[in-house]
Protein backbone atom coordinates (compact mmCIF):
# COMPACT_ATOMS: atom_id res chain seq x y z
CA UNK A 1 0.00 0.00 0.00
CA UNK A 2 2.92 2.32 0.79
CA UNK A 3 4.40 1.60 -2.62
CA UNK A 4 1.07 2.28 -4.38
CA UNK A 5 0.77 5.55 -2.46
CA UNK A 6 4.29 6.57 -3.45
CA UNK A 7 3.50 5.89 -7.12
CA UNK A 8 0.39 8.04 -6.88
CA UNK A 9 2.23 10.85 -5.08
CA UNK A 10 4.83 10.85 -7.85
CA UNK A 11 2.07 11.10 -10.46
CA UNK A 12 0.50 14.07 -8.66
CA UNK A 13 3.87 15.81 -8.37
CA UNK A 14 4.66 15.21 -12.03
CA UNK A 15 1.22 16.46 -13.13
CA UNK A 16 2.08 19.85 -11.65
CA UNK A 17 4.62 20.16 -14.48
CA UNK A 18 2.08 19.43 -17.23
CA UNK A 19 -0.77 21.90 -16.96
CA UNK A 20 -3.74 21.33 -19.24
CA UNK A 21 -3.30 17.59 -19.30
CA UNK A 22 -4.51 14.60 -17.32
CA UNK A 23 -2.63 11.36 -16.62
CA UNK A 24 -3.72 8.17 -18.44
CA UNK A 25 -1.12 5.63 -17.50
CA UNK A 26 1.87 5.36 -15.17
CA UNK A 27 4.57 2.80 -15.88
CA UNK A 28 6.66 1.17 -13.15
CA UNK A 29 9.57 -1.25 -13.39
CA UNK A 30 9.79 -3.99 -10.78
CA UNK A 31 12.73 -6.32 -10.39
CA UNK A 32 11.96 -9.92 -9.53
CA UNK A 33 14.13 -9.50 -6.39
CA UNK A 34 12.31 -6.34 -5.28
CA UNK A 35 9.80 -8.21 -3.08
CA UNK A 36 6.82 -6.60 -4.78
CA UNK A 37 3.85 -8.75 -5.69
CA UNK A 38 2.32 -7.42 -8.91
CA UNK A 39 -1.23 -8.43 -8.07
CA UNK A 40 -1.01 -6.92 -4.60
CA UNK A 41 0.38 -3.66 -6.00
CA UNK A 42 -2.35 -3.52 -8.64
CA UNK A 43 -5.01 -4.23 -6.02
CA UNK A 44 -3.72 -1.49 -3.69
CA UNK A 45 -3.36 0.96 -6.56
CA UNK A 46 -6.95 0.40 -7.70
CA UNK A 47 -8.16 0.75 -4.11
CA UNK A 48 -6.51 4.15 -3.60
CA UNK A 49 -7.54 5.68 -6.95
CA UNK A 50 -11.12 4.45 -6.57
CA UNK A 51 -13.62 7.35 -6.56
CA UNK A 52 -10.86 9.95 -6.93
CA UNK A 53 -10.00 12.19 -9.88
CA UNK A 54 -7.37 9.59 -10.86
CA UNK A 55 -9.81 6.68 -11.06
CA UNK A 56 -9.14 6.15 -14.77
CA UNK A 57 -5.34 6.09 -14.31
CA UNK A 58 -3.89 2.84 -15.60
CA UNK A 59 -0.92 1.12 -13.97
CA UNK A 60 1.64 -0.48 -16.30
CA UNK A 61 4.05 -2.96 -14.73
CA UNK A 62 7.23 -4.16 -16.37
CA UNK A 63 9.00 -7.01 -14.58
CA UNK A 64 12.81 -7.05 -14.77
CA UNK A 65 14.67 -10.34 -14.34
CA UNK A 66 17.67 -10.79 -12.06
CA UNK A 67 20.80 -10.27 -14.15
CA UNK A 68 24.38 -11.02 -13.19
CA UNK A 69 27.73 -10.24 -14.79
CA UNK A 70 30.62 -12.68 -14.61
CA UNK A 71 33.69 -11.23 -12.88
CA UNK A 72 35.94 -13.57 -14.87
CA UNK A 73 34.76 -13.41 -18.49
CA UNK A 74 32.44 -10.38 -18.32
CA UNK A 75 29.43 -12.24 -19.70
CA UNK A 76 26.05 -10.78 -18.68
CA UNK A 77 23.18 -13.22 -18.17
CA UNK A 78 19.73 -13.73 -16.66
CA UNK A 79 19.74 -15.83 -13.47
CA UNK A 80 17.25 -18.69 -13.58
CA UNK A 81 16.34 -20.99 -10.67
CA UNK A 82 18.80 -19.10 -8.43
CA UNK A 83 21.74 -20.50 -10.39
CA UNK A 84 24.08 -17.52 -10.43
CA UNK A 85 27.08 -19.32 -11.99
CA UNK A 86 28.24 -17.98 -15.34
CA UNK A 87 26.67 -20.05 -18.14
CA UNK A 88 29.63 -19.24 -20.38
CA UNK A 89 32.68 -20.07 -18.22
CA UNK A 90 30.98 -21.74 -15.18
CA UNK A 91 32.65 -19.31 -12.74
CA UNK A 92 30.73 -18.82 -9.47
CA UNK A 93 32.17 -15.29 -9.20
CA UNK A 94 29.36 -13.18 -10.59
CA UNK A 95 27.88 -9.85 -9.52
CA UNK A 96 24.24 -8.86 -9.52
CA UNK A 97 23.67 -5.97 -11.93
CA UNK A 98 19.87 -5.72 -11.98
CA UNK A 99 16.67 -7.31 -10.74
CA UNK A 100 16.15 -5.09 -7.69
CA UNK A 101 14.32 -2.27 -9.50
CA UNK A 102 11.41 -0.39 -8.00
CA UNK A 103 11.29 2.50 -10.40
CA UNK A 104 8.92 4.91 -12.05
CA UNK A 105 9.48 4.51 -15.77
CA UNK A 106 7.05 6.87 -17.51
CA UNK A 107 3.78 8.76 -17.33
CA UNK A 108 1.38 9.05 -20.25
CA UNK A 109 -0.58 12.30 -20.29
CA UNK A 110 -3.40 13.49 -22.52
CA UNK A 111 -4.49 17.05 -23.22
CA UNK A 112 -7.93 17.97 -21.94
CA UNK A 113 -10.44 17.92 -24.79
CA UNK A 114 -8.58 15.35 -26.91
CA UNK A 115 -10.70 12.21 -26.72
CA UNK A 116 -8.96 8.83 -26.64
CA UNK A 117 -10.73 7.79 -29.86
CA UNK A 118 -9.69 11.00 -31.59
CA UNK A 119 -6.07 10.49 -30.54
CA UNK A 120 -6.01 6.99 -31.90
CA UNK A 121 -7.45 8.03 -35.29
CA UNK A 122 -4.81 10.73 -35.74
CA UNK A 123 -1.90 8.37 -34.96
Amino acid sequence: MGIANSVLEAVRTEMGLHPGTYPCKVGVRIGEMAAIDQDALRFCFEAIVHETDLESLELGIEVCPRRHRCQVCGHGFVVRDYDSRCPQCASPKTTCISGDELELAYLEVEEYGASAVGTKSTQ
Partner: protein, 226 residues
Protein backbone atom coordinates in the same frame (compact mmCIF):
# COMPACT_ATOMS: atom_id res chain seq x y z
CA UNK B 1 -1.01 11.24 -25.99
CA UNK B 2 2.42 12.15 -24.69
CA UNK B 3 4.77 9.83 -22.80
CA UNK B 4 6.90 11.57 -20.18
CA UNK B 5 9.94 9.65 -18.93
CA UNK B 6 10.12 9.63 -15.12
CA UNK B 7 13.20 7.44 -14.48
CA UNK B 8 13.40 7.65 -10.75
CA UNK B 9 12.91 5.33 -7.84
CA UNK B 10 9.37 4.83 -6.53
CA UNK B 11 10.64 5.28 -2.97
CA UNK B 12 12.95 8.17 -3.81
CA UNK B 13 11.72 10.26 -0.86
CA UNK B 14 12.38 7.38 1.56
CA UNK B 15 15.77 6.78 -0.07
CA UNK B 16 16.67 10.47 0.29
CA UNK B 17 15.99 10.44 4.04
CA UNK B 18 17.78 7.08 4.40
CA UNK B 19 20.85 8.51 2.65
CA UNK B 20 20.85 11.47 5.07
CA UNK B 21 20.59 9.09 8.04
CA UNK B 22 23.40 6.92 6.66
CA UNK B 23 25.64 9.96 6.30
CA UNK B 24 24.87 11.00 9.89
CA UNK B 25 25.58 7.47 11.21
CA UNK B 26 28.90 7.41 9.34
CA UNK B 27 29.86 10.87 10.55
CA UNK B 28 29.34 9.82 14.18
CA UNK B 29 30.74 6.30 13.78
CA UNK B 30 27.41 4.67 14.65
CA UNK B 31 26.88 1.15 13.35
CA UNK B 32 23.20 0.84 12.45
CA UNK B 33 21.73 -2.63 11.93
CA UNK B 34 18.22 -3.45 10.70
CA UNK B 35 16.81 -6.75 12.00
CA UNK B 36 14.09 -8.34 9.87
CA UNK B 37 12.12 -11.58 10.19
CA UNK B 38 8.65 -13.08 10.21
CA UNK B 39 6.66 -12.43 13.41
CA UNK B 40 7.84 -14.75 16.18
CA UNK B 41 11.24 -15.75 14.77
CA UNK B 42 13.04 -14.25 17.75
CA UNK B 43 14.21 -10.73 16.90
CA UNK B 44 13.32 -9.41 20.35
CA UNK B 45 14.84 -12.48 22.05
CA UNK B 46 18.06 -11.98 20.09
CA UNK B 47 18.13 -8.34 21.18
CA UNK B 48 17.48 -9.35 24.80
CA UNK B 49 20.40 -11.78 24.75
CA UNK B 50 22.57 -9.17 23.04
CA UNK B 51 21.79 -6.36 25.49
CA UNK B 52 22.24 -8.72 28.42
CA UNK B 53 25.76 -9.60 27.19
CA UNK B 54 26.95 -6.05 26.42
CA UNK B 55 28.64 -4.06 29.19
CA UNK B 56 26.40 -1.56 31.01
CA UNK B 57 28.42 1.45 29.85
CA UNK B 58 28.23 0.42 26.18
CA UNK B 59 26.91 3.13 23.86
CA UNK B 60 23.99 1.16 22.44
CA UNK B 61 20.40 2.10 21.65
CA UNK B 62 17.44 0.22 20.24
CA UNK B 63 14.45 1.23 18.13
CA UNK B 64 11.80 -1.46 17.98
CA UNK B 65 8.90 -1.45 15.56
CA UNK B 66 5.47 -3.02 15.87
CA UNK B 67 2.03 -2.31 14.53
CA UNK B 68 0.64 -1.94 18.05
CA UNK B 69 1.72 -2.13 21.73
CA UNK B 70 4.82 -1.10 23.66
CA UNK B 71 5.47 -4.73 24.67
CA UNK B 72 8.84 -5.13 22.96
CA UNK B 73 10.22 -1.85 24.27
CA UNK B 74 9.12 -2.87 27.77
CA UNK B 75 10.93 -6.20 27.39
CA UNK B 76 14.11 -4.44 26.26
CA UNK B 77 14.10 -1.50 28.70
CA UNK B 78 15.12 -3.65 31.67
CA UNK B 79 18.70 -3.74 30.32
CA UNK B 80 19.03 0.03 30.97
CA UNK B 81 20.01 1.00 27.44
CA UNK B 82 17.96 3.66 25.64
CA UNK B 83 15.01 1.93 23.92
CA UNK B 84 12.19 3.46 21.98
CA UNK B 85 9.10 1.77 20.57
CA UNK B 86 7.87 2.78 17.13
CA UNK B 87 4.20 1.84 16.75
CA UNK B 88 3.29 2.10 13.10
CA UNK B 89 -0.47 1.93 13.65
CA UNK B 90 -1.06 -0.52 10.81
CA UNK B 91 1.91 -0.08 8.53
CA UNK B 92 3.70 -3.41 8.02
CA UNK B 93 7.26 -2.01 7.88
CA UNK B 94 9.41 0.82 9.23
CA UNK B 95 10.42 3.62 6.89
CA UNK B 96 13.28 6.11 7.03
CA UNK B 97 11.07 8.98 8.18
CA UNK B 98 9.95 7.00 11.25
CA UNK B 99 13.61 6.39 12.14
CA UNK B 100 14.49 10.05 11.65
CA UNK B 101 11.58 11.15 13.86
CA UNK B 102 12.35 8.72 16.66
CA UNK B 103 16.05 9.60 16.68
CA UNK B 104 15.31 13.31 17.04
CA UNK B 105 15.96 13.51 20.80
CA UNK B 106 18.92 11.12 20.91
CA UNK B 107 22.42 12.44 20.35
CA UNK B 108 24.21 10.29 17.79
CA UNK B 109 27.56 11.34 19.23
CA UNK B 110 26.59 9.41 22.39
CA UNK B 111 26.09 6.17 20.42
CA UNK B 112 28.24 3.51 18.80
CA UNK B 113 25.56 0.99 17.93
CA UNK B 114 21.93 1.44 16.90
CA UNK B 115 19.87 -1.73 16.62
CA UNK B 116 16.58 -1.45 14.75
CA UNK B 117 14.02 -4.20 15.13
CA UNK B 118 11.70 -3.99 12.13
CA UNK B 119 8.02 -4.97 12.11
CA UNK B 120 7.66 -8.77 11.80
CA UNK B 121 7.32 -9.26 8.05
CA UNK B 122 9.64 -10.77 5.44
CA UNK B 123 8.28 -8.78 2.50
CA UNK B 124 7.83 -4.99 2.75
CA UNK B 125 10.74 -4.21 5.13
CA UNK B 126 13.06 -5.41 2.34
CA UNK B 127 12.02 -2.44 0.17
CA UNK B 128 12.56 0.34 2.73
CA UNK B 129 16.11 1.52 3.30
CA UNK B 130 16.49 2.87 6.85
CA UNK B 131 20.04 4.13 6.41
CA UNK B 132 21.42 0.98 8.03
CA UNK B 133 24.94 -0.36 7.44
CA UNK B 134 23.52 -3.87 7.13
CA UNK B 135 20.29 -5.80 7.21
CA UNK B 136 20.15 -8.98 9.27
CA UNK B 137 17.49 -11.60 8.60
CA UNK B 138 16.37 -13.95 11.38
CA UNK B 139 14.79 -17.28 10.48
CA UNK B 140 13.69 -19.82 13.08
CA UNK B 141 13.66 -23.59 12.67
CA UNK B 142 9.90 -23.73 13.24
CA UNK B 143 9.46 -22.07 9.84
CA UNK B 144 10.17 -23.76 6.50
CA UNK B 145 13.68 -24.27 5.19
CA UNK B 146 12.42 -22.98 1.82
CA UNK B 147 11.75 -19.46 3.22
CA UNK B 148 14.84 -18.05 1.44
CA UNK B 149 13.44 -19.27 -1.89
CA UNK B 150 9.93 -18.00 -1.16
CA UNK B 151 11.08 -14.56 0.06
CA UNK B 152 14.35 -14.14 -1.84
CA UNK B 153 14.55 -10.36 -1.65
CA UNK B 154 15.26 -10.08 2.06
CA UNK B 155 17.79 -12.93 2.02
CA UNK B 156 19.45 -11.36 -1.00
CA UNK B 157 19.74 -7.97 0.68
CA UNK B 158 20.81 -9.13 4.16
CA UNK B 159 24.46 -9.49 5.13
CA UNK B 160 23.80 -12.08 7.81
CA UNK B 161 21.29 -14.89 8.38
CA UNK B 162 20.64 -15.76 12.01
CA UNK B 163 19.09 -19.24 12.22
CA UNK B 164 17.34 -19.19 15.58
CA UNK B 165 15.70 -21.75 17.91
CA UNK B 166 18.24 -24.50 17.10
CA UNK B 167 17.36 -26.07 20.48
CA UNK B 168 14.13 -27.22 18.78
CA UNK B 169 15.89 -29.08 15.95
CA UNK B 170 15.32 -32.54 17.51
CA UNK B 171 11.57 -31.89 17.58
CA UNK B 172 10.88 -30.32 14.18
CA UNK B 173 11.37 -31.61 10.63
CA UNK B 174 13.65 -28.70 9.71
CA UNK B 175 16.69 -29.43 7.56
CA UNK B 176 19.14 -26.77 8.70
CA UNK B 177 21.68 -27.58 5.98
CA UNK B 178 18.98 -27.23 3.30
CA UNK B 179 17.98 -23.86 4.80
CA UNK B 180 21.60 -22.65 4.66
CA UNK B 181 21.96 -23.97 1.12
CA UNK B 182 18.76 -22.19 0.04
CA UNK B 183 19.95 -18.94 1.58
CA UNK B 184 23.26 -19.22 -0.27
CA UNK B 185 21.46 -20.02 -3.52
CA UNK B 186 19.71 -16.66 -3.26
CA UNK B 187 22.75 -14.89 -1.78
CA UNK B 188 26.02 -16.64 -2.65
CA UNK B 189 28.52 -16.46 0.21
CA UNK B 190 25.94 -15.26 2.74
CA UNK B 191 27.20 -15.33 6.33
CA UNK B 192 25.14 -17.58 8.62
CA UNK B 193 25.11 -18.06 12.40
CA UNK B 194 23.07 -20.75 14.15
CA UNK B 195 21.79 -19.79 17.58
CA UNK B 196 19.36 -20.61 20.33
CA UNK B 197 18.27 -17.53 22.21
CA UNK B 198 16.75 -19.87 24.80
CA UNK B 199 19.86 -21.92 25.67
CA UNK B 200 22.47 -19.39 24.54
CA UNK B 201 23.98 -21.89 22.13
CA UNK B 202 25.75 -20.20 19.19
CA UNK B 203 25.30 -16.69 20.60
CA UNK B 204 29.06 -16.35 20.89
CA UNK B 205 29.34 -16.41 17.07
CA UNK B 206 26.63 -13.78 16.78
CA UNK B 207 28.41 -11.54 19.29
CA UNK B 208 31.70 -12.07 17.39
CA UNK B 209 30.03 -11.03 14.14
CA UNK B 210 28.63 -7.96 15.87
CA UNK B 211 31.92 -6.91 17.44
CA UNK B 212 33.77 -7.37 14.13
CA UNK B 213 31.24 -5.11 12.43
CA UNK B 214 31.61 -2.55 15.19
CA UNK B 215 35.39 -2.62 14.87
CA UNK B 216 35.15 -2.21 11.10
CA UNK B 217 32.80 0.76 11.53
CA UNK B 218 34.95 2.70 14.01
CA UNK B 219 38.23 3.40 12.17
CA UNK B 220 36.23 4.75 9.27
CA UNK B 221 34.64 7.38 11.48
CA UNK B 222 37.97 8.26 13.11
CA UNK B 223 39.56 8.70 9.70
CA UNK B 224 36.85 11.05 8.54
CA UNK B 225 37.01 13.00 11.82
CA UNK B 226 40.75 13.57 11.60
Amino acid sequence: MERVPLERKVLSENDRIAAELRARFQEHGVLCLNLISSPGSGKTSLLERTLETLPRHDRVAVLTGDIQTENDANRLKRFHFPVKQITTGGTCHLDARMIERHLADWKLEDLDLLLIENVGNLVCPASYDLGEAAKIVVLSVTEGEDKPLKYPSIFFKSDLLVLNKIDLLPYVPFDIEAAAENARKVHPGMEIVKVSCLTGNGLHEWMMWLSERRRACKPLAQNTAS
